[in-house]
């Protein structure tokens, strides 16, 4: 083929096991490295890691806001060009080099250890805030075991003459979320103290995670049988429930109504690319780890395609379910609005009931406008627009904790639906956390920071404990603002950089020829032209474009956040406020440190090699006369003899 660019990489063969050694490992079933009990566990774990909360509350919003059915086109194209190649790359390299993320990059080239460390840092920070969302889900889950649900009605004030004013102005679901759950402060600088109920839920979330991750994949492999399959069951139940409710079809229609003009908008393509990238949980290091526990001849190409398809289909399925429920809620709101207006009209003009129906409403309005326009103006009827209700605040935590919970209160037997919904969100989040913990624990073990003889339980326990301790910042009054900050900066830019470095490392430092041979050895055939083109050119280009777009937009605009401020003029609309200056330091730590670790570690290793190179030359000259230099003891024999003692 054409001239393949490959950077010099001396000593690669010493660092990685050869094909012969891999075959031997396969036959001996080396007991040190954990293994999957069966293929199903592996697939379910990967599906669980990829399918997360984003599939439920980010994709449907993107779909609806970027031209409905038309959004499928950029999404599917980028799934094929960006998602599947990257997934296959991570699976293959993990399966071949049989190490976690730090081990893999160290094997390829010691200067690349920074990539593994960056993955570990990002996994740690994302895990911290992601589990806080799970803590919130748990809070709602615990509160679902009562009838009526606490967010279905406003609490009454002291003298029982009316409702609490904050709740009266907004809505019971808003009040329960912002006041009873988060107890938000108006600004991020205002800490508001620790909310003890959130601390309890956080503790519960982290201990639950620890019990599932206690022994690594031994325990998570069993847990995923439930956490990866239950969401699909609940989604199906909600689909059936949703389709029997009034107005659900209008929601689905709203979701999928294609607006092909959106395809000309570049931000549609960029959002689709970003969604595919983040949805696949790439560059966290977890997928590389999971894949390294497979047998050497596992068909990773097939796995990558299957998991990508499952992920894409789950997003679409979840979008249908979510929007059927949103359609129901919008219809209910519309009916309430209309009936409220009809009541006002009846009360003002003392008309008998049933005189104005929903169908005769418009005709009646026109009649009124022509006969008594003055009175009509004074009435201040609310505008009831179905489209507004359908497009209200439907992404992220707003979807789960405000819009969906409101829809649930309008269904019969609300506590049941609430319990089911929050169990589903919990399972979706927990299975993603398994990959996150894996992405932190395995690099920690590889880096040899802590004593090696400590059992896995201590490693996982330590990671959970430290994360819980740091996640206390999210249990403050201003916790939600901190979480939004982490969500925006800890997970976005560093991941793109890491993914780009991964692709460059495998294609040009490890060598695409060697990689092709490895895949041929593992699955039996060489990867075809599609994989070559995407790994070497198309996928890195897409990731680079997305990164540049994000970087430029973030740096150029003033950074703001939306706050719940009961004192603001536009209450209950959320107020946009700008961050204080010291936030920029925090943002730098979140985004900059993982990204800068990559060159920093390379530089550190370079300096260490240069200054220690001279000393090593002296030592090498002294040891020429010892026997051990002349006889090379192969690695596995060494390992085997060690395990016998």
């Amino acid at each position: 083929m054409k001239l393949k660019l490959k950077l010099p990489n001396p000593g690669l063969d010493e660092r990685i096991p050869s094909h012969a050694e891999l075959e031997k490992l396969e036959l001996e079933e080396a007991g040190e490295r954990p293994q999957w009990d069966n293929k199903a566990q592996y697939m379910l774990t990967c599906v669980g890691f990829c399918v997360g909360l984003g599939n439920v509350w980010r994709f449907p919003y993107l779909c609806q806001s970027h031209g409905g059915g038309a959004f499928m086109i950029p999404f599917l194209i980028l799934l094929v060009l960006e998602g599947i190649p990257l997934l296959h790359l991570e699976f293959a390299i993990g399966q071949r080099l049989r190490k976690g993320s730090v081990g893999v990059w160290r094997s390829i080239n010691p200067y690349l250890v920074g990539v593994g460390i960056a993955s570990m840092l990002v996994s740690f920070m994302v895990g911290m805030y992601y589990n806080t969302i799970i803590a919130w889900v748990l809070w709602y889950f615990f509160n679902s075991f009562q009838d009526p649900l606490p967010w279905s009605q406003c609490p009454v004030n002291e003298n029982r003459t009316g409702f609490v004013s904050e709740c009266e102005d907004s809505s019971p679901v808003d009040y329960f979320w912002y006041r009873k759950t988060l107890n938000t402060t108006p600004v991020i600088e205002d800490s508001g103290g620790l909310q003890w109920w959130i601390v309890l839920c956080l503790f519960c979330a982290w201990t639950l995670l620890w019990v599932c991750c206690l022994r690594g994949i031994e325990t998570t492999g069993k847990a995923v049988y439930v956490t990866s399959t239950l969401p699909y069951l609940v989604l199906t139940i909600f689909l059936i429930r949703g389709l029997t409710l009034k107005g659900s079809v209008s929601g689905i229609k709203f979701l999928f109504t294609p607006d092909l003009d959106e395809l000309l908008n570049p931000s549609t393509w960029l959002d689709a690319g970003a969604q595919v990238f983040y949805s696949f949980s790439l560059a966290f290091g977890g997928l590389i780890s999971f894949s390294s526990y497979n047998s050497v001849h596992n068909n990773c190409e097939q796995d990558a395609v299957i998991i990508s398809i499952i992920n894409g289909l789950t997003s679409i399925y979840a979008a249908i379910v979510i929007y059927s429920i949103i359609g129901f809620r919008a219809t209910e709101r519309f009916d309430d609005c209309l009936n409220g207006n009809i009541l006002t009209l009846m009360n003002t003009f003392d008309l008998p009931e049933g005189n104005i129906t929903e169908s005769s409403y418009d005709g009646f309005l026109q009649h009124l406008n022509s006969t008594v326009p003055a009175v009509f103006q004074d009435l201040q009827l609310k505008t009831c627009d179905m489209q507004t209700f359908l497009s209200q605040g439907v992404e992220g935590t707003g979807l789960a904790f405000i819009v969906f919970t409101e829809a649930i209160t309008k269904m019969p037997i609300s506590p049941l639906w609430s319990v089911l919904f929050f169990i589903m969100l919990f399972c979706l989040g927990l299975s993603t956390m398994f990959g996150s913990v894996e992405g932190v624990v395995v690099p920690l073990q590889d880096l040899n920071i802590l004593p090696k003889r400590w059992p896995k339980e201590v490693y996982t326990g330590l990671v959970c404990l430290v994360s819980f301790g740091l996640a206390i910042i999210f249990a403050q009054g201003s916790g939600e603002y901190w979480l939004a900050l982490f969500d925006g900066f800890a997970g976005s830019i560093p991941l793109l950089i890491i993914a780009f470095c991964e692709m460059m490392a495998v294609a040009y430092i490890y060598g695409i020829d060697r990689f092709n041979d490895d895949i041929k050895f593992m699955i039996g055939h060489k990867p075809n032209f599609f994989w070559q083109a995407t790994w070497r050119l198309v996928s890195p280009l897409i990731v680079l474009l997305i990164f540049l777009f994000y970087f430029v937009t973030t740096v150029s605009k003033e950074l703001t956040y939306i706050a719940w401020d009961p004192q603001s003029e536009n209450f209950p609309t959320l107020e946009t406020k700008s961050y204080p200056d010291w936030i920029y330091a925090i943002i730098f730590i979140l985004s900059g440190v993982p990204a800068l670790v990559i060159p920093a570690v390379a530089l550190y290793k370079l300096i260490r090699n240069r200054c220690c190179a001279k000393e090593e030359k002296h030592k090498a000259a002294e040891q020429l006369y010892s026997i051990s230099d002349k006889i090379q003891i192969p690695d596995e024999l060494d390992r085997a003899s060690r395990s016998l003692h």
Partner: protein, 220 residues
């Protein structure tokens, strides 16, 4: 003479109407029967009005602890198709004097529940303009339900952690004994009455030839 008699007959209702229409002490009432009851809605007629006046008289009786209030003390006017009207309450001692607004309000608030039930309506569908409904007291739990569920989950998690840790510890102990048992075999000494721990290391055990299980040869 006749004029005088006629005046006497028609004066009270006229005066009554004036008392009701112009007064500051009246309350407007609005009923939304069809909204509240749907298909089971009843027709609003004179009998229903009679019931309303009697329930109000009852409310006044209960509030003032005087058994002298009758249906004639409740005057109604401004009837509309909406089913809304204004009422006033006259004093038992003097038919021309009205009970002040505050007293009536208190009487209605105390007995709203009974008035609602008489008409199968609720605070939303039977409105007294100017008298805000007393909202039901919030349900106070002894233990919040969420704490109970939290306790159950944490308990299950604690049991899980302890069970898993114990199984790890016992697995390690068994592995250590297995290793100890193997190293004893290397020395070539097999203890018959050896300690239980070391014999666990070997799965097969010791074959005792004194007792043999040769059933296949003893069949007749």
């Amino acid at each position: 003479m006749l004029a005088g008699v006629l005046l006497l007959i028609f004066l009270p209702p006229l005066v009554a109407k004036d008392l009701c229409k112009d007064s500051q002490d009246g309350f407007k009432v609005r009923l939304s029967i069809k909204t509240g009851l749907g298909d089971d809605a009843y027709e609003w007629n004179e009998s229903e009005m009679f019931l309303f006046r009697s329930t109000l008289a009852y409310a006044m009786r209960k509030h003032s602890n005087q058994d002298t209030y009758t249906i004639d003390n409740i005057l109604v006017c401004n009837d509309t198709q909406r089913v809304s009207f204004v009422f006033v309450v006259t004093s038992t001692d003097d038919p021309d004097q009205l009970i002040p607004k505050e007293q009536v309000e208190l009487a209605v608030r105390q007995n709203k529940h009974r008035i609602n039930n008489a008409f199968l309506l609720s605070d939303m569908t039977l409105e007294f303009m100017g008298i805000p409904p007393t909202l039901s007291a919030p349900i106070i739990y002894d233990t919040e339900p969420w704490l109970i569920v939290f306790g159950v989950v944490i308990g299950a998690v604690a049991v899980g952690i302890v069970a898993l840790l114990m199984s790890t510890v016992s697995k390690k102990r068994r592995a250590k004994e297995k290793a100890a048992g193997l190293s004893e075999e290397d020395e070539g000494i097999v203890k018959e009455n050896g300690t239980a721990l070391s014999s666990l290391g070997r799965k097969e055990g010791v074959y005792n030839q004194a007792f043999s299980n040769d059933d296949r040869f003893t069949k007749l």
